[in-house]
């Protein structure tokens, strides 16, 4: 049985429909990241789960029990807020202990548990400080400790790394998975950072415009996004989109990209005659030597070295820009000027222009449901 069961949840504020029928199941011990651009209702969904807001329609069941109408203090969850929401008039210790005092734990147990979680999060030395005296990183750890201390079986984390500096965010991104697995809790983790979503989540639920567009493992979301909207959210730089109109030549589907004719796998035959957007991940696009069939003539305009990789800005015939990325360990730097590009045909993504949905090739084996 799923630990968190959300069915058809709707929520509006005034006339603004924030959630338009969200359904999601999270299994016991699973970490699901809720990912999407700002304003898509991620935080609202978390708040509905916590009982801070009441949904307009739909049901929430925690541990198999419907919790509609039960107040936040009766739901037995741990939650960390994006703005930390520490109690300013209490020390870090009392902040963390607040979840235990509510359960009428005795002082020895409180001291032991607070000490343990503080050690885990490396904040033992600042337990007697008030939130005002803590650095952002320490505040964030205190907020996490407060959510974790009572060993809740359900944890809601609302973008806890949003307000901390880049270095700490990186550290925490490494530490968090182990920490969360160790706690053994079922976790819903909200983030706006696709790297964080991919690093932390067993599954990613992509929330777009108040609906869950796709919920799948990070690898599948990246390789097989259901729509342009999802595909665009993942990847740095983001994927290239080129309008194409596949046609059948000798029974095989072909597209015209930047003046070059490119043959697609036979499974794409059904796309012939439609209007599609070709989605190309920058890393599946590469520069090749000399003109050859299936290569696109491009102009290399700029090279941006980013240590481990270089991002290349290319323009095709007609002026459309493409971004390609390649490993940054080349001996000699790329020269700008005319060049030829090719792409990996297995990595082709075709999106229907009208609906934005990805075309699922007919014979795709093991990759599509």
């Amino acid at each position: 049985m799923a630990q968190i069961e959300i069915k058809n949840l709707r929520k509006s504020f005034k006339d603004d429909a924030v959630l338009k029928g969200v359904s999601l199941d999270v299994d016991k011990g699973e970490i699901v990241t809720l990912f999407g651009p700002s304003g898509t209702g991620k935080t609202v969904l978390l708040r509905l789960l916590a009982g801070i807001h009441a949904p307009d329609a739909g049901t929430i069941a925690l541990r198999g029990r419907d919790v509609s109408g039960s107040p936040p203090d009766k739901r037995g969850i741990g939650m960390a807020f994006q703005n930390f929401a520490l109690f300013p008039h209490m020390t870090a210790r009392d902040n963390i202990a607040s979840a235990l005092t509510a359960r009428k734990a005795d002082s020895a147990e409180i001291a032991r548990k607070v000490g343990a979680v503080a050690q885990l999060l490396k904040i033992s030395h600042v337990l007697d400080h008030s939130p005002r005296e803590l650095s952002n990183g320490q505040k964030q750890r205190t907020a996490l400790a407060r959510a974790l201390v009572a060993d809740p079986d359900i944890l809601l984390l609302d973008d806890p790394l949003r307000n901390v500096d880049a270095k700490l965010r990186y550290e925490m991104r490494l530490e968090l998975p182990a920490l969360l697995k160790r706690a053994g809790s079922t976790v819903l983790y909200v983030t706006q950072d696709f790297k964080e979503a991919m690093a932390l989540g067993d599954r990613i639920a992509v929330l777009l415009d108040g609906e869950i567009e796709q919920c799948d493992t990070p690898a599948r979301i990246y390789a097989e996004p259901v729509s342009i909207g999802v595909a665009r959210l993942f990847g740095d730089p983001t994927l290239n989109l080129v309008a194409v109109e596949p046609r059948l030549v000798d029974g095989a589907p072909e597209i015209l990209v930047g003046g070059a004719t490119i043959r697609l796998p036979a499974s794409y035959a059904a796309t012939a005659g439609g209007s599609y957007m070709l989605g190309l991940r920058p890393e599946s696009l590469r520069l090749v030597d000399g003109p050859a069939p299936g290569t696109i003539t491009v102009d290399l305009v700029a090279v941006t070295p980013l240590n481990e990789k270089s991002v290349l800005l290319l323009t095709m015939e007609g002026g459309q820009e493409l971004l390609a990325s390649e490993a940054g360990d080349r001996d000699e730097p790329r020269r700008t000027g005319p060049a030829h590009a090719a792409f990996d045909k297995d990595a082709v993504l075709l999106f229907d222009c009208a609906s934005g949905r990805r075309f699922v090739p007919a014979d795709a084996t093991g990759v599509s449901k």
Partner: protein
């Protein structure tokens, strides 16, 4: 550099001295007057040299006012006690009623909530004289004229809107997430109110309480109309010093010193919170 900062400091010192003089000299002068006889106060030109006398205070405390025309009984100490009793009870009642109400207005948007809040505030707009006549008629019917309960009730017109509106601003400044976090940790609504909301709005509550205490203390017209001699506060009681044989300046001064002292001490004691509280609310808007 040093020169500029020296001039700046000197100027600042002079300005501060002037301001202090402006605000504190009257109090100082009253203090001096309270130790002088009427003749010494009224001599021309005024002089700082006199033999201090405690007669004024003695007269106030014993309740016998000695004038050139004879002896007069006054109930000054009783009035002072009334002031303390009325103001304290009025403010306490207003806090008990006003703080939860302010919280409700700050946190929940219910039907007519803005209208109710504004109506409560509008009690402060209306001149007291406007409501006094109907009020005194109602009070006569209800048997509340000349009772402490009646006066404390009327004082709510002064204290309640003040507390409600100041404290509401403080509650609104508290991030709801702080309270949500406490609820999620497993604490009840009531506990969250007392452990999170009230302590965090503490400076505001203290400032509002102090301000409304001063306003209640200074009130004159409600007590004048609705209370008789033995229930009247000092503000009304001070009228007794205007006697047939002239105004007893010495006793008036002593009475002022005695009646200002409680609020002054309270304000000095609570000054830190008062300034912090009032300016905090102002900055955060």
């Amino acid at each position: 550099m040093d020169r500029i900062s020296f001039i700046e400091r000197a100027l600042r010192g002079v300005l501060l001295a002037l301001i202090v003089l402006f605000f504190l000299f009257p109090i100082f002068w009253i203090l001096l007057m309270s130790f002088q006889t009427n003749e010494q106060i009224l001599r021309i030109p005024p002089s700082l040299s006199f033999v201090p006398t405690l007669d004024n205070y003695r007269a106030l405390i014993s309740g016998h006012l000695l004038t050139s025309a004879g002896s007069l009984d006054i109930a000054f100490m009783r009035n002072l006690g009334n002031s303390v009793l009325l103001s304290t009870c009025a403010v306490l009642l207003a806090l008990v009623l006003g703080v939860p109400a302010a919280y409700a207005f700050a946190r929940f948007k219910f039907w007519l909530s803005e209208d109710i809040a504004f109506t409560l505030l509008s009690f402060r707009f209306a001149p007291p004289l406007l409501v006094l006549l109907p009020l005194s008629l109602y009070f006569q019917d209800l048997g509340l004229v000349d009772t402490y309960v009646g006066l404390i009730w009327v004082y709510q017109l002064i204290a309640l809107p003040l507390i409600l509106w100041i404290v509401r601003g403080y509650f609104e400044d508290i991030s709801p997430d702080i309270e949500n976090a406490y609820r999620i940790a497993g604490h009840s609504w009531l506990r969250t109110f007392f452990k999170i909301a009230v302590p965090l709005a503490g400076p505001g509550i203290a400032a509002a309480g102090l301000l409304s205490f001063i306003f209640c203390w200074n009130n004159f017209v409600f007590a004048l109309i609705l209370a008789s001699a033995d229930k009247q506060p000092v503000t009304v009681g001070a009228l007794a010093f205007v006697t047939a044989s002239g105004i007893q300046y010495g006793q008036v001064a002593a009475a002022i010193v005695l009646s200002v002292t409680p609020t002054l001490l309270l304000a000095l004691y609570a000054q830190r919170w008062l300034v912090e509280g009032l300016s905090l609310g102002a900055v955060k808007g």
